[in-house]
Symmetry: C2
Subunit: 341 residues, 2 copies
DNA sequence: AAAGTTGTTGAAATCGATTACAAATTGCTG
DNA sequence: CAGCAATTTGTAATCGATTTCAACAACTTT
């Protein structure tokens, strides 16, 4: 027995309905006048044969695939997964499909996936927190490929981007800790060279300056954005100085590492140590005490960029505003407020 | 200025190299003899024009797209995301792309995505823990569409499937708790009607029977596979009976809900309450104490099914074994062992 | 020098759907 | 009933790459 019977084509439908392929196409797309009688017979034939137009043929004819690629460094990171959900929702509503590409934290893989635009597998590419540099991305855009970036600002007239106000958010978080009476506040960066880390550090310093508090370099360390990294960085911090009473961590995963370290050292949160993270990770809401955190509008960021990029595909060029800096809310929860018993 | 210069086509390359399109194709695919001189000129032209064959045209010609769709009920569930990673790795190695579809827990969306096979956007579909019933899936397969299922057994000669030995794994987990001296062990199911929940309950009962322990219905509750659900279910259980000393939760999220409830009630884990979950969620390794859990080979499950389905696409029918029941390891960690301090 | 190899090459058909254009049909007016 | 307009329909070209087949060139062999 053969593998499968081939699908019905538009010619099969035409033959069954006793008309030409052109008429079938007109019925299906409403692209021209068709007599009621012919329309009826075509519709009947389509039903009988369960006909669906071949997507590859449509793509070839229109020179567009109605598909976007989304390149992400690790699909397991829930922060990215939520952005993807936002993209998927909007893209789906606009009849676009999305091809997900997990670059597994390898810059080379990320670059490989760019070929999806070049061989026209996709109409455009969305990069989430790309590893490729600005110059490389600009080069792709200059060659006429549509791409958009989530997570950092890009200054290229054809590349729409959406990113968060890291400085402002960090300033708000640290100012909140200061308002709670903390004067020695540690900062846990992710990777020392990541834009996100850098900007959050900037916000941290800005908040200290505004409150006329001194900047103490011994209260700064890095935890690689991971839970174990946060755990170890906290232990290092404590070794250097036991005088601080609060920590602002550049993401929630590291903040959870701090929770574990505090549990082991018998330091109560928030009484002995206040903690604030960034990301609004799902887990943070359910630990005890609940983790205060900066909540970036992940879903909205994905949705916004998808809409922009798809618009651009239609218009031929990037319409209206191209760069969007979105604000984040500070969610104050149990890990940073004193007044709970 | 226009949107973008159109890509070079095979005809452009042919003209530039002073040969016919057929020769260009032969050079690119090694599908026929080409003189060294012609080959050289073609390669040069390809480089100069940065030519890449149009994917849609290739798909149309070969009547295959080298793309699989993966339909999942929620991409945020890390359990599913890890399976997807396994699929992506294997598929990528076999030169297949994957289209990710998030059905958002809606059965109707899941059914909608099946059209991707019918309009030949994809060559085959992988469903992870599908909501669609066996009969519906069988109907698609009967109509000649290639599909595979991860998460439950399907008895259809053309549908490969990979699933875990839920009964065995649950039996092992509960037997482990019994070995630790527990006699009254609660069970938290996910949804009462989910296959996974049902089979894990079966394993729970089997372990009790083997140890000649009585089955107590008041020690059974459901938490909808979520953290808050687990939290609330635990509180309900405690209200009904405070005599149990251990809980086996049908997944780690619910187990984390139990952690929170125990923290609030001042019950120490594992001394006052032993906990074992299922999934080997990333978070479980970092909570205190670390969560004992059943670890299904998520990555391998995805990889295995992807390979099977792609094989089937080549062969025309499902070759060799079609159903794979994979075993899970029990990871014993701090939440279920007494001997720590 | 005629016949037969071997090795290269291009013209044309094909995949399935869309669309510009021309042809055919119908209805209406003078 | 001739002539024109309006409506409906089909033919053929097109999108870009692949592949069959026949043609051609450059040889060797007799």
């Amino acid at each position: 027995m053969p593998s499968r019977k081939p699908d019905a084509t538009i010619v099969d439908v035409a033959r069954t309905a006793g008309v030409s392929a052109a008429t079938v196409s007109r019925v299906l797309n409403g692209s021209g006048p068709v007599s009621p009688s012919a329309r009826g017979r075509v519709e009947e034939a389509v039903r009988r044969l369960r006909y669906m137009p071949n997507a590859s043929a449509k793509s070839l004819r229109h020179l567009k695939t109605s598909t976007l690629a989304v390149i992400v460094s690790d699909i397991l990171v829930s922060y990215y997964a939520e952005i993807i959900k936002g993209i998927e929702n909007t893209a789906g509503a606009l009849r676009y499909k999305i091809l997900i590409c997990d670059a597994q934290n390898q810059r080379e893989k990320e670059a490989d996936y760019m070929t999806l635009a070049m061989d026209r597998t996709v109409d455009g590419i969305i990069l989430i927190a790309p590893m490729l540099g600005d110059a490389e991305l600009a080069a792709y855009a200059d060659r006429g490929y549509a791409l958009g970036v989530i997570g950092r600002r890009i200054d290229h007239p054809a590349i729409p981007c959406v990113y968060t106000d890291n400085v402002g958010a960090a300033t708000e978080a640290v100012t909140h800790l200061i308002a709670q009476g903390h004067e020695r506040i540690a900062f846990l960066s992710g990777f020392a060279d990541a834009t996100d880390s850098y900007e959050r550090l900037e916000g941290y310093m800005k908040a200290l300056r505004q409150a006329s508090l001194p900047f103490r370099p011994e209260l700064i360390d890095s935890g690689g954005f991971s839970e174990p990294g946060g755990y170890e960085a906290f232990l290092r911090l404590r070794e250097r100085s036991s005088a601080f009473t609060a920590v602002f961590a550049a993401n929630d995963e590291m903040a959870l590492g701090i929770y574990r370290a505090c549990a082991e050292l018998g330091i109560p949160i928030p009484a002995g140590m206040a903690v604030v993270g960034v990301d609004n990770n799902r887990v943070g809401r359910h630990v005890d005490p609940a983790l205060s955190t900066v909540d970036p509008p992940k879903h909205a960021m994905g949705a916004l960029l998808a809409e922009k990029l798809i618009d651009q595909l239609g218009e031929g060029r990037c319409p209206g505003t191209r760069c969007f800096e979105v604000g984040s809310r500070l969610l104050v929860r149990g890990s940073s407020i004193f007044n709970n018993k």
